[in-house]
Symmetry: C2
Subunit: 356 residues, 2 copies
């Protein structure tokens, strides 16, 4: 089952060619869950080690899936922007407050920046890009590009197909989000809790949890702070960013975001209405051949365990809703460390114009 | 946190009085997850052991939370209906196909029957009852009463409050359902898989899973068979049964049902529209004082771990939606073995007219 879903290919995938391999690249925040994934992708794409600098808070190293060890050197966040002047491109896998400082500083030194935090996503002068949807935005001036929220990116890919063909009228997104959406500490916490729940002896010290409650055997029905209207930060991001990525500032978006005890891959149940009548057979064909999507006909899929480590957003359970002839439902699963974060950022880099 | 939610009281709760304690009661399917819970409730309510018969496929015993052991005797399903003639009341915690045979047979022998399967729920001559909502239906003639689907019962309680006050226009239910919703085998499977995932040695033989895929670290986005239109059996039940319980045959109901790695308690994200404008403050007051409901002001709650073993349906995240001024969202969690099954059936029994 799982192997059917895997589309990662050996060699140099994702259009990363010799011109890209001549770029001098910095990955900032390389020891986090997303940073590691990005280094994996760059190495798998054949990017030379001497043109790849990994930076984090302190000296460290990361071990790749192929056992290769990559050194990590420390970055004194605010003072060191000049140290980047030799780079062509920097990926910022950093917390929002660090990105806010580094992003503009690096741009000024002529470095192209792809930022994975929420620091710049809603700024009018910064493109927010899922390449398959609005890659054309990358032609705009400016050295800074924002990578979207992970749940948003996963929901956006199939929604863009529906919007192009039938016009989205309103969208409901209800999420089942993985522990690693909260980064390496989220994953470490779930792993620890799972072992404790199973009664495994000799657990060692408990990691500091990024969650408000125990996650194993639980559902936490809000992600990030909840504002005075009762909307969570994650729900606000989904609304704002979907509108920007789809170029539909008027789109009605409602959502509930919840954390579930899953290591990796976010899932979303999507219920929507369209402006025009939907031909389900044609829609399934469009979804099946859309770049970045994989359509499953498993009536009980897609499922996160099968999708972990894969590139596409997996879509299934495409069916008519019962809220009139223009209502539609589907279920989508994507590896939020890949398409939801590192892979999408990498694809943005692959689409940037490169001196050849 | 958890202790705040517990409302189970010592002694004789839920209106089970001396007249009820004179009833001769059979629990059929007593060794299943719901059957056990029902026996726990009857014993906790002080029902005498000599007026309680536990039946299942073979000789067995069940051990209660208080360590008391209750004997279980075998029932030859089709032949033994006459053996029930001495009973006043039978709870059928049996598979649908067994209930289909036993229900009418027992009724003919003058036994009142509360059936927890889906065998009779949609029959016009059988009331489908959540006592707080449509307990008045129990005054109808007939010896057979149906207990609703677990997810439906949990969603129905808060929805009934909204419907009474503001009139429901359309309802979306997206579920996060626990392993024990698939009974004792579901729970045993999740427990086993969790230990295997944690690397615990000496696991013994693997239980036969009722799920289509590994549940630990996963989400299975459809429950029961999926029909040719793409609707799952669970989704169909939610639509049909909500309409019947709320007495709203025209109500538009759409849903996605998914299984998550949680031992106990179903959760639902509900997004709805009303016919009249909603005053959120007033609605919260109504929810807080409605029988069978508990309102939480935890912005990241309610959560299944805290609600396991409790009686009420816990409601939180009550907020305005973005689909117009009459859209509303909330999140609800209920112990599906209690309010979703055994407790609701027990409450039905407590409301049946009893010779005094």
């Amino acid at each position: 089952m799982a192997s059917d879903f895997r589309t990662r290919t050996a060699g140099a995938p994702w259009g990363w060619d010799d011109a890209h391999r001549r770029l001098s690249i910095a990955v900032v925040g390389a020891t986090g869950a997303v940073g590691r994934e990005l280094v994996e992708l760059l190495v798998a794409a054949g990017h030379p080690a001497n043109r790849l600098d990994c930076l984090a808070r302190r000296y460290d190293k990361i071990e790749l899936e192929n056992r290769q060890k990559v050194p990590v050197r420390p970055l004194e966040t605010t003072q060191d922007a000049s140290a980047f002047s030799g780079f062509d491109l920097a990926f910022l896998c950093t917390p929002t407050e660090i990105s806010r400082v580094l992003g503009p500083a690096l741009s000024e030194f002529g470095v192209r920046v792809i930022d994975l935090s929420s620091a710049f996503r809603m700024r009018d002068d910064v493109p927010l890009v899922v390449p398959e949807i609005n890659g054309a935005e990358l032609a705009r001036e400016g050295r800074l590009v924002a990578n979207p929220n992970c749940t948003t990116a996963i929901a956006a890919l199939p929604l863009a197909v529906v919007d192009r063909e039938y016009g989205l009228d309103e969208v409901l997104v209800v999420s089942y989000q993985a522990a690693s959406g909260a980064g390496a500490p989220g994953l470490a916490t779930l792993t620890y809790e799972l072992r404790r729940e199973a009664g495994l002896p000799g657990l060692g010290s408990e990691p500091k949890s990024p969650f408000v409650a125990t996650l194993v055997n639980n559902v936490i029905p809000a992600i990030a702070e909840v504002d005075e209207r009762g909307t969570s930060g994650e729900e606000q991001k989904i609304q704002d960013e979907l509108r920007k990525i789809l170029g539909r500032p008027d789109l009605v978006v409602e959502s509930t975001t919840a954390r579930v005890p899953v290591e990796r891959c976010h899932s979303v149940a999507v219920h929507l209405k369209t402006k025009r009548d939907v031909d389900l057979r044609r829609l399934r064909e469009l979804l099946a051949r859309a770049p970045g999507l994989a359509l499953t006909d498993d009536p009980h899929g897609p499922r996160p365990r099968d999708c972990a480590g894969t590139d596409p957003v997996h879509v299934g359970r495409v069916r008519a809703g019962s809220r009139g002839s223009r209502s539609l439902c589907f279920f989508a699963v994507g590896d939020q460390l890949r398409k939801g974060a590192a892979l999408n950022a990498f694809q943005i880099a692959a689409r940037l114009s490169v001196e050849r």
